[in-house]
């Protein structure tokens, strides 16, 4: 049984123009507090999403193209922690407009029912499942949780954690394109420097021309990449550890081939 709860503390976003992102419990909060309190520690991801909203509103107080964040639970244990979750959300003053208390069996359905345009999770399997059903997903880098940052760093990386060709249907490609277009538009509202959003492209295997192609493809989808790294077979570990991305987008990458 899925229950959806609106967060009355937060102003609801415009249904047509907001970009709906669902974030899992594990992606929002860190592990349980040791003292057994019912307030969870906050991870880095959500504050950065909020910051983008804040900066967008600074530019234009009537801005509607904002992130509309839903918190979603993906297993029964989490589903049962609903009051602690709501409590912690209030405690940290998080800009979560709705809660979806679902389980491992029905969370994907919840995602679809809520018109989620991007699903952020720390769990590769969850991402795969969602992608199968046409919901673009991005992996939250667990290491980035503890790293302070002024910018939400989104990494486009081929063959990252999610198998690029698995689960890529026409439907999910379309959704991914839509989402990218929105993300690109949000980024365009800021200048080249001092943006709360940063797009990075990393290509591991191809040469400069593959990377250049990917840059141009992303551009044609409305995404203007800020940083680009063409590895050409060099080990990716050292580079990724320096980049400190928050979110890895690799599924919709099949969009960039051909």
């Amino acid at each position: 049984m899925v229950s959806t709860v609106t967060n009355s503390d937060v102003k609801q976003k415009d249904v047509d123009q907001a970009v709906v992102v669902a974030v899992t419990f594990a992606a929002v909060f860190g592990p349980e507090a040791e003292d057994g309190s019912t307030v969870y520690r906050l991870g880095a991801a959500l504050p950065l999403l909020q910051r983008v909203n804040e900066r967008l509103l600074e530019k234009n107080s009537a801005e509607h193209q904002l992130f509309d964040v839903i918190l979603i639970t993906t297993d029964s244990w989490q589903q049962q922690q609903s009051s602690s979750i709501i409590n912690s959300t209030r405690h940290h003053g998080l800009e979560i407009s709705r809660f979806c208390f679902s389980t491992e069996d029905n969370y994907v359905e919840s995602l679809m029912q809520n018109n989620v345009q991007l699903f952020f999770t720390t769990d590769g399997n969850e991402a795969l499942q969602a992608t199968h059903q046409g919901v673009p997903s991005a992996m939250l880098d667990k290491n980035s949780v503890s790293c302070p940052s002024e910018q939400l760093r989104v990494l486009f990386c081929e063959n990252a954690i999610i198998q690029p060709n698995m689960g890529s249907t026409e439907a999910s490609k379309k959704s991914a394109q839509n989402f990218l277009a929105h993300l690109g538009q949000m980024r365009q509202k800021f200048g080249v420097s001092d943006s709360p959003l940063c797009f990075t492209l990393v290509t591991s295997h191809g040469g400069k021309d593959s990377c250049c192609c990917a840059l141009k493809s992303l551009r044609s989808l409305g995404v203007s990449v800020d940083e680009a790294y063409c590895l050409g077979g060099a080990p990716r570990g050292p580079i990724l550890s320096l980049l400190r991305p928050h979110f890895l987008l690799s599924d919709g990458f099949s969009l960039l081939e051909g």
Binding site: K208, V225, C230, L231, A234, P235
Partner: protein, 376 residues
């Protein structure tokens, strides 16, 4: 071939790296136009060049300085399909490519080659023009790093860089402090006819190949003391300087040609151009090189004579020196020079101690921090 040892890696990281390598190899092997694939970083001699050393971006830089970064990026994007003109490192890069061709002929399966990486803090959108320009000249540069305004220094290690060339002295100093051979490049004032069959690299001795220990003696105690000191310690090797490892890397590649009987036709030639004199202070230098197991093809002792005219005869693709006085002299007469900001020479100008004002507290937006953010 990098002296920089990779940090301890886990088994999975190693495995992933191997997979990445194999996939890249497969990709390049499958290309219809046979583009030489980039070598394995741990075996290659990696040269990182900034966009302003590879290409002439003087006009674009003016736009950046006068009108700011947004206009600069917009301009570059607008002119994306206009190839840039060659910069100071361009002849050097072409010479490196030539050596690679010769090496691939002799050793088709070896990964011990030069690997040229574009290392720039430009934004990726500007990068499209850079890649188009690279393609226009047919340069084999398959790896790059465009950091969108942030310092690229951290990435030098990640790409296992053996030599970093930039137009920005602050970045170069930072690289040297991190233990990476680096130099600030200067375009020469005249056109010069450089060899297209042989890479020619000239090095100053003290504070470039060797430490600045002897230069300190000259500056503090004068030439006579210096001569006595060098004679006395003739058999004690000097400590190494920031470019020693690069000379070593060149030597390793040279020996590959010697092994195939190509010594007389070797496409790499190295020169030592030092103000020391052969009689009094030269021996220590040669003995130090010998103790390191390094060869240098030609050692030229000037005994204080200006370097410019001699370099004009040598016509190197690049000349490394720690003193701006020599860099300027070389430039005037057509030699592409690269300043190594290392050692006591930085505190002096033409033999006189530079009076440096008290360093301002950081936090202000002054010339200093602006330079840090310039697009290189």
């Amino acid at each position: 071939m990098s002296e920089i040892k990779p940090t301890e890696k886990t088994a999975t990281e190693d495995n992933e790296a191997e997979q990445d390598w194999k996939a890249a190899k497969a990709f390049f092997d499958s290309l219809k136009t046979k583009v030489p694939r980039p070598p394995k970083p741990q075996n290659a001699v990696t040269i990182a060049v900034s966009s302003r050393t590879l290409f002439n971006m003087v006009a674009e830089r003016k736009i950046f300085e006068d009108e700011g970064v947004e206009k600069y990026v917009a301009f570059q994007v607008e002119h994306e399909n206009d190839p840039l003109k060659p910069g100071p490192a361009f002849p050097f890069v072409k010479a490196l490519m030539n050596v690679n061709t010769r090496l691939r002929n002799l050793y088709p399966d070896s990964e011990e080659l030069f690997d040229i990486v574009l290392m720039t803090n430009n934004h990726a959108q500007v990068g499209v023009r850079l890649i188009n320009s690279i393609n226009h000249y047919g340069l084999t540069i398959e790896r790059f790093c465009m950091t969108g305004g942030k310092s690229p220094i951290g990435y030098l290690k990640a790409y296992m860089t053996n030599l970093y060339l930039s137009k920005n002295p602050e970045k170069v100093t930072e690289a040297i402090e991190e233990g990476i051979a680096a130099a600030t490049m200067f375009m020469s004032k005249q056109e010069s006819d450089l060899s297209d069959t042989q890479l020619r690299v000239a090095f100053d001795g003290d504070a470039v190949l060797f430490s600045d220990e002897s230069e300190i003696i000259v500056k503090k105690h004068g030439l006579d003391t210096f001569f006595e000191h060098e004679k006395e310690f003739e058999n004690k090797p000097l400590a190494q300087g920031p470019l020693k490892c690069f000379l070593e890397a060149l030597g390793k590649l040279q020996r590959k040609f010697y092994a195939k009987n190509e010594r007389l036709n070797c496409p790499i030639r190295t020169f030592l151009v030092t103000a020391r004199s052969a009689a009094s202070s030269g021996a220590r230098v040669l003995k130090t090189l010998r103790s390191w197991g390094l060869e240098i093809d030609e050692a030229l002792f000037l005994a204080g004579a200006p370097k410019g005219p001699l370099l004009q005869k040598i016509r190197p693709h690049i000349f490394f020196d720690d003193q701006m006085f020599h860099i300027e002299g070389a430039n005037e007469l057509g030699t592409i020079s690269a300043h190594v900001p290392y050692g006591i020479g930085q505190k002096y100008n033409k033999g006189k101690l530079i009076e440096t004002p008290e360093k301002k507290e950081s936090g202000g937006i002054g010339e200093g921090s602006r330079a840090r953010h310039e697009m290189d």
